[in-house]
Symmetry: C2
Subunit: 328 residues, 2 copies
């Protein structure tokens, strides 16, 4: 069997997780890693070769799918269209508000190139998006809620690190159990940001830094913390490295709805994930969609799609007969 040749653009946490994930998928192999850094400085986990990102187009005929592992804020808006002009791509673009704009750009570029791009993969957006869609299609009269965590939010951790006097920090987003249970109860509660999640921060302060000021600046930071109950723990560098070096995450999508001629029946659907490693899980989702992108493009599909447009069976390495026998 010919293997699907995957390449990775961007060799941070997510890129490394994609590299490891490929080893779990027997129908895939890694071509190499593309980077904006000096490739000679990149030492990959598996010994895969690193190349300059700018040179990627010259390898277009050697790569089936390029997995875009850059960040959504500044990397993907440029890298997405750059790669989509030459490769089937999969990414985890997650700036919700800019998805329509990014979609248009990727769709236009991929169509022109005769390639296929899956955007906004991963788990949210990604699997959680798919679940929200399925759930609301099944229970049209109801309500859908998403809770995130318990887990490390990199955006919030970064925001703390930008505060004067902070040497390092990790921020955990934690769903509030009472809110989750209220949703499960089927009453479609109105929940403020503060009622849904709390935030717990572990902060390493620089020597002589004013911890009271740091704590105040965290708790009052608009958008990130001001609307939540936030707890700040100051820890040593050793404690942070020992107890908070991982990137666990998770969350729940819950939909409740009523059915029956008199709306007499209640139903609850819950999709819950608990992840030791957010980048590993995200990478594995992207790889499953890479398989789909490869197949769909071989069948003639071009342009950009979101995860909601991909038939589930295209994600599986199993044949239609095996799928019917094993999963249905």
């Amino acid at each position: 069997m010919e293997k699907i040749k995957i390449a990775i653009s961007g060799y941070g946490n997510l890129g490394k997780s994609v590299e490891a994930g490929i080893l779990q998928n027997n129908d895939m192999e890694l071509f190499g890693v593309f980077t904006r850094r000096d490739p000679s400085t990149i030492k990959t986990l598996t010994g895969a070769k690193a190349y300059l990102a700018d040179e990627a187009p010259s390898f277009a005929d050697k790569i089936d799918v390029m997995i875009l592992c850059g960040g959504s804020a500044t990397d993907l808006p440029k890298q997405g269209p750059f790669f989509a002009a030459h490769f089937n791509t999969v990414d985890a673009f997650d700036t919700h508000a800019k998805i329509p704009e990014y979609f248009e750009e990727m769709d236009k570029t991929a169509k022109k190139a005769g390639k296929f791009s899956v955007i906004a993969g991963g788990w949210d957006p990604g699997m959680f998006s798919i679940m929200r869609l399925y759930n609301e299609a099944i229970l049209p009269e109801g309500g859908t809620y998403t809770f995130w965590g318990p887990g490390v939010s990199q955006g919030h951790s970064d925001a703390i690190r930008r505060i004067e006097g902070v040497a390092d920090a990790k921020q955990y987003t934690i769903p509030i159990e009472e809110a989750v249970n209220a949703v499960r109860g089927g009453v479609n509660p109105s929940l403020s940001a503060r009622q849904k999640h709390k935030r717990v921060c572990y902060v390493v302060a620089r020597e002589d830094a004013d911890k009271e000021r740091i704590e105040r600046e965290i708790k009052t930071m608009p958008n990130y913390f001001a609307d939540y109950d936030t707890t700040v723990h100051f820890v040593t560098r050793e404690e942070l490295d020992r107890d908070h070096s991982g990137l666990p995450h998770g969350g729940i999508v819950i939909t409740t709805g009523k059915t029956g001629i008199n709306k007499e029946h209640g139903h609850t659907i819950e999709y819950k994930i608990a992840l030791d490693s957010n980048p590993d899980f995200t990478a594995n989702v992207l790889l499953a969609f890479a398989r789909a992108a490869y197949r769909l493009n071989r069948e003639g599909a071009t342009g950009a799609k979101t995860v909601a447009d991909i038939p589930p069976s295209y994600l599986s390495p199993k044949s239609p007969e095996e799928i019917r026998r094993l999963y249905i």
Copy 2:
């Protein structure tokens, strides 16, 4: 907007639930109900008209999708191909072992007719099938477990009713919490049927019936009960009607898996449903797939597919733009 014209074949619990479910979907309308009984004896919930099943083909141009609500044991193997020769169809065929055979028959018939059939909808097979497939595509190194209940198993209730001296019965299938938690722990435990589920029966005995014999016959019944810890409660007709008239059900699909270059990260995915009414939920799933069948056939797709082959976005009444904005 032109509405999707739905018809129902078979007016039992599931057929009634489909009729009620159509009222929740603004883009659908009910054409009528097809039955093998005398149509004049059918009084529908919404006043929809009943027709003889044999006459259905003459209404082919007035109906977009026929929802097949017959049983899998004897109805669908005949009714499926009969209707697929004239209509787009959706069904909840659930005899797992016979799905390949049923699929071939439906695929051949629908292709010849230029129609589209979604087979094995509902929740298991159905949404649970989709979840098993997604989960294992994302976590290739892991294990997937399905637990059913707590809920009423109609097949097991029927089996009890066939015992001499039983006037009526309801059987609840209940997952064993220790087993569910062992699976969540990620150890991929080996679990026997007895370790995964227990069975609780509420039985109305006929006057003068030998209750000890009935209980013994239930508990030793091969396939249905012998491999499980079964509890039998004898109740009065009044108690059964008062406390056990509903058809609640539910279940969980759990996948755990390892990732990381040294398999150092564990992950858990759970999909859990809790349903006041098994037929209502099943009906709503079938209606969402009816929407997909209608659209796919209009786009030129013919033949049979399982739920795993349908892009999630085809289930939603929302436009691609709305889906990207609301769900992704």
